[in-house]
Amino acid sequence: MKKLLTSTALMFAMGLPALAQEYTPDPAAAPGGNIVVTYKDDVATLDPAIGYDWQNWSMIKSLFDGLMDYVPGTTDLRPGLAESYEISDDGLTYIFNLRPGVLFHNGREMTAEDVKYSLDRVTNPETLSPGAGFFASIAGYDAMSDGSATSLSGVTVIDPLTVSITLSRPDATFLHVMALNFASVVPQEAVEAANGDFGKMPVGTGAFSLDEWVIGQRLVFAKNENYWRAGVPYLDAVTFEVGQEPVVALLRLQNGEVDVPGDGIPPAKFTEVMGDPAQAAQVIEGGQLQTGYITLNVTMPPFDNVAVRQAVNMAINKERIVQIINGRAVPATQPLPPSMPGYTEGYAGYPFDPEAAKAMLADAGFADGFETDLYVMNTDPNPRIAQAIQQDLSSIGITANILSLAQANVIEAGGAGTAPMIWSGGMAWIADFPDPSNFYGPILGCAGVVEGGWNWSRYCVPALDELATAADSITDPAMMDERMSKWSDVYMSVMEDAPWVPVFNEQRYTMRSPRMGGAEELYVDPVSIPVNYDYVYVTE
């Protein structure tokens, strides 16, 4: 990939984490123009406390800002509405110094009171925010959660431009949490004026403001002329057209009517597009913080036997599964995707060796194999992938019955702990923020082993939980390598116990019209999917 972006790491005084502070704007960028982005589904909501799907995530990012942000096209943190911050020596208190003169779309200046209000709002149970749990390390969260408080005791306004946040435990991921959409700063008066419909009438400080929303048809974002980051956004407007079939969106792209098909290239068209040099030139490929895996329920015989789980790991032909999805992924060796910090370089994972797997099964007392159920979501390509898994398993004597169900039903079975095997496709874990802890707690840690939890393997090793907690208590930036090595140890232990078969890491493919400009990284931005709207531009 071209390296048009340069990031400058600035070391702050007082032992602050290395921060990629600045982003060098593209010299070729010209302001102006309007792009059209299409989606099949309606936009559910633009309320940053509520929105939690891959479609509205990037839209909300462009309407709102949080205290922290990412350098465009990267996973490097940079300050957002906070101009700078200080962390106390014990890692428990964060003081954020806000940028002066930042205006909300309604013209009012943003202050520390708004930061406090926004955090209180997202953690208030009445808001029904799916992201409330991310703020659990802030002091006073528990009192908010059980309804005994209406304000977070850990968040204090020091003066209009300074806010202090105290944590109840050290949390190395806290700055990432403050960069989540859920931590966006919203103006109280606009939330109240919307009377429950803030998701349809969003007001933020972001690069764009919502200009028009015709339900079921389109949303128009208009450039925020007063945006506090100088020089951006380049585009005058972004129009999101909803209700558009991906195949038709592709036709319209070829006809020059669409700039970015938001749902990507439909699987049925992928080979055709990539086989045509003219079209393939408009496609940008990038990594994704995603892993597709098979869960093996460690509480259900015979998967309670580690040798059986390891044998299954060796029986799956990952290369072939990657071929089934037209090569839109790379085979996975471990739970973390390669672009995630903490990924163990050089670890090759379990080899594909059906003979050895068969021998292991025989040693474990299953020479004649056994019968089990494989749950899978019923949309293409997942049933086809499940069939490949079924064949691989039958080669070592395991008969897997495929249960192909609607997404909600598979999630239900996983959460109830009644599924021996689940192929995670269509529900696979995509990181909320680029940190290894995000792949552990809910899906491999003991906390996820509850009714309705996401730890579908029911894998729970208290010693690993302790190691994970120890890793996340390291907030000293000088010790980041040690933290990452601890995380690497966690995932290597997981691999030994083999509660999962990591199958592949999906790649992302974004297609754009020829008139669109900007660094390729912006089109496969790890946090703004599909595109970082604030920094792309049009050339005509």
Binding site: L128, G196, G243, A447
Partner: protein, 306 residues
């Protein structure tokens, strides 16, 4: 007449009540939890319990249903779980598009279907009849997705006569209406043909011919009004289908109708929207049938509404 209307209206209300009960019950026993969809994957058990309580989903079925019904009687369809907005707003925003496409689709299928059926009946057993009936067979069995894409590709992408999907002007409605018209015309032409063939065999047609009326007059004045009657009843059912589920045509042409809303809601277990759309389309079927029955006496004076 007034008594009949009143009785039918009460009946319709009972049918809708039944539909609402069955749908609500089916959604209640569905092994998919809407709360988990709302709570998201980061949620703790506590958050899930809190959401369940706030939405009243921790209550027994009859309590939940009667609450829903109480709202319904006050004209409140509830709030969408995931879009966090009034269901009536969401349906209302899409209703005009649905009604337009419905009217255009039904008009197209009637024009195509009835004329094909009449032509086939008049040329019974001949080449035209055979080819028309084969055509109707093809249109009945052709998949919506393929026909929509084919029409879109040929007339919008290649020839550029119409916009590639979208909503707003007359040009936008032509292709989706034509798709629906073609697909629906198969049923109408077959029904119209058999109905017409039957009528042409009756004594009064023979009498009409015998008294020397022109062929055109026999067909238009005597045969057609009688033959078209059973076909009218189908329109009522069509209204229901069009109100509830033309998802495929809507998505290919980017038509902002109710079908898309229903489809998305089903995938996300957004119960208030599913209920709302089901009730609206059920009401449309009921009203459509009622209208068909009310029109019948005007076409055939022998029918008395009692």
């Amino acid at each position: 007449m007034a008594g009949y209307l009143l009785r039918r209206l009460v009946q319709s209300a009972l049918i809708l009540l039944g539909v609402s009960f069955i749908t609500y019950f089916l959604l209640f026993i569905l092994p998919a939890d809407p709360v988990r969809q709302i709570a998201g994957r980061a949620a703790t058990a506590e958050t899930v319990a809190n959401i369940r309580e706030q939405l009243g989903l921790d209550q027994p079925f009859l309590v939940q249903y009667s609450r829903y019904l109480a709202g319904l009687f006050q004209g409140d369809l509830g709030r969408s779980y995931l879009q966090r907005t009034e269901v009536s707003t969401l349906i209302g925003a899409r209703l005009p598009a649905t009604l337009q496409l419905m009217a255009a689709g039904i008009a197209t299928e009637l024009v195509l279907g009835l004329s094909m059926g009449v032509a086939a009946a008049l040329t019974r057993g001949k080449a035209l009849d055979n080819s028309l009936m084969i055509t109707s067979f093809v249109t009945v069995s052709a998949p919506q997705f393929v026909v929509s894409l084919l029409l879109l590709y040929v007339f919008a992408v290649k020839l550029g006569w119409f916009p590639i999907g979208g909503y707003g002007t007359f040009a936008h409605i032509v292709l989706p209406a034509l798709t629906l018209g073609l697909l629906g015309s198969g049923w109408y032409s077959r029904m119209m043909r058999s109905s017409m063939v039957e009528v042409l065999r009756t004594d009064y047609i023979r009498t009409a011919r015998a008294k020397g009326l022109t062929r055109a007059r026999v067909i238009l004045r005597h045969a057609l009004p009688n033959a078209v009657l059973p076909v009218i009843a189908m329109i009522g059912i069509d209204i229901g289908i069009f109100m509830g589920g033309i998802v495929v045509v809507e998505s290919v042409f980017g038509w902002p109708g109710i079908g898309q809303l229903a489809w998305q809601a089903i995938q996300r277990v957004d119960i208030p929207i599913i209920m709302g759309v089901t009730l609206v389309s059920a009401a449309a079927i009921v009203i459509g049938n009622l209208l068909a029955d009310l029109i019948a006496p005007f076409i055939d004076p022998r029918i008395k509404l009692r």
